[in-house]
Subunit: 206 residues, 2 copies
DNA sequence: TCAATTGGGAAACGATCGTTTCCTAATATG
DNA sequence: CATATTAGGAAACGATCGTTTCCCAATTGA
């Protein structure tokens, strides 16, 4: 009789068990990749941040790119979960848009603003030369755009958003604003300025 | 008697004259750095693109970082000149804002959209670890924000822009939109979507 | 208890990085 | 013409890159 520690779906495989948690390690990788970028991050950087030896890294992942893509997948998963949690509180369509904008504004200013956004980093640094990375970011962006659009339409039905605005184009603008705030947050992560943009953006729903 | 080829301010200095034009070479460097990023660009890449040997590069510039900073200075100079030229055509404040948004939308879509924006690249990749680069981008962003604000105020005086909007906050939003379009242009540089954002953004002036 | 299998970790790998050196070529100055 | 100065260009530099190898440790299944 033995305790089965594995909480996943598959039974533990043969061989010596991994001594570190993959997701915990990936969270560290996310932080390093976000701050330094893909090419600016060395295996040594990852090794130090993740608290592993290079050998262990290469046992768990095929190569540096695989670590990066896995980190990005986790980044999206974690952030999407947080956003969904926030949006669940929305009382109506307009409130949902506001919460979503504030969610990003909260991350685009101050320390986390300086630190940066991994999705923006991938788009800027990787999209041109890595089709798989590009597809991942595009999917992520499309998801956010669709969420904005759905909230706008919901607002038009519940009366909190003007019927005269175009949901698709306005959603695209919101997506642009949010990504732009992430860029500006790298050099001037002022809180008031960041949230003043949110206030102006909300006027588009009147 | 000899022709003085040097069109600059200083007389030609002693020693063998440089055989290439610095600005022409920097234009090539801008292209490479924009597409691959700072860390993704090697001296070999620059050597090939600029049509020089590494030795000549290091005669003209202190190191890789100096090439990058010089390229970024030139990038800003060239783009600012183009923008000023476009803004000179503006018939009023609102038209100026529209021309400025279109100027960026024109570059954020299609092939140049995929290629990317050097200022965004610097902000995302360099700002955290290079104070001088960060200061340069911030100055550049501030300049654009001030230009937007001035156009909005001009519009409020000439009657083309509503008096009830806040020039500063609205300018900041426009800046965000423009930088965001650059990010989105890396993965989905669709022309219609890009310009639809401009149309929505213009509604803020009513 | 004994293969088979997988992870941990140190060391080493070839490749490429950014940079310098060294020699020759071309100009200004005296 | 002689000297000083700077550029062009090939080759080489040490350092670091991403990755692999090798050996030992820990586990599963027979």
């Amino acid at each position: 009789m033995s305790l089965d520690i594995d909480l996943g779906t598959t039974a533990r495989s043969a061989g010596r068990p991994r001594e570190f948690d993959i997701d915990t390690a990936l969270d560290k990788a996310i932080s390093v990749f976000t701050e330094r970028g893909y090419h600016g991050t060395s295996i040594s950087d990852l090794r130090d941040a993740m608290g592993l030896t290079a050998g262990s890294l290469y046992k768990a992942f095929k190569d540096k790119r695989a670590i990066f893509l896995a980190a990005f997948d986790r980044y999206k998963q974690v952030r999407n979960a947080l956003l969904d949690e926030e949006l669940a509180k929305a009382s109506n369509g307009r409130d949902g848009v506001y919460r979503m904008l504030c969610f990003y504004a909260e991350n685009a200013h101050g320390q986390s603003g300086r630190h940066g956004c991994m999705a923006v980093g991938v788009a800027v640094e990787m999209a041109v030369f890595d089709d798989e990375a590009a597809a991942k970011v595009e999917r992520s962006m499309d998801r956010f755009e669709d969420t904005f659009e759905a909230l706008i339409r919901r607002g038009q039905e519940d009366g909190s958003v003007s019927r005269s605005i175009e949901p698709k184009a306005t959603a695209r603008l919101y997506l642009s604003v949010v990504q732009g705030l992430r860029v500006l947050g790298k050099t001037s992560p002022n809180r008031e300025e960041t949230f003043s943009v949110v206030d102006v953006a909300m006027k588009l729903l009147d």
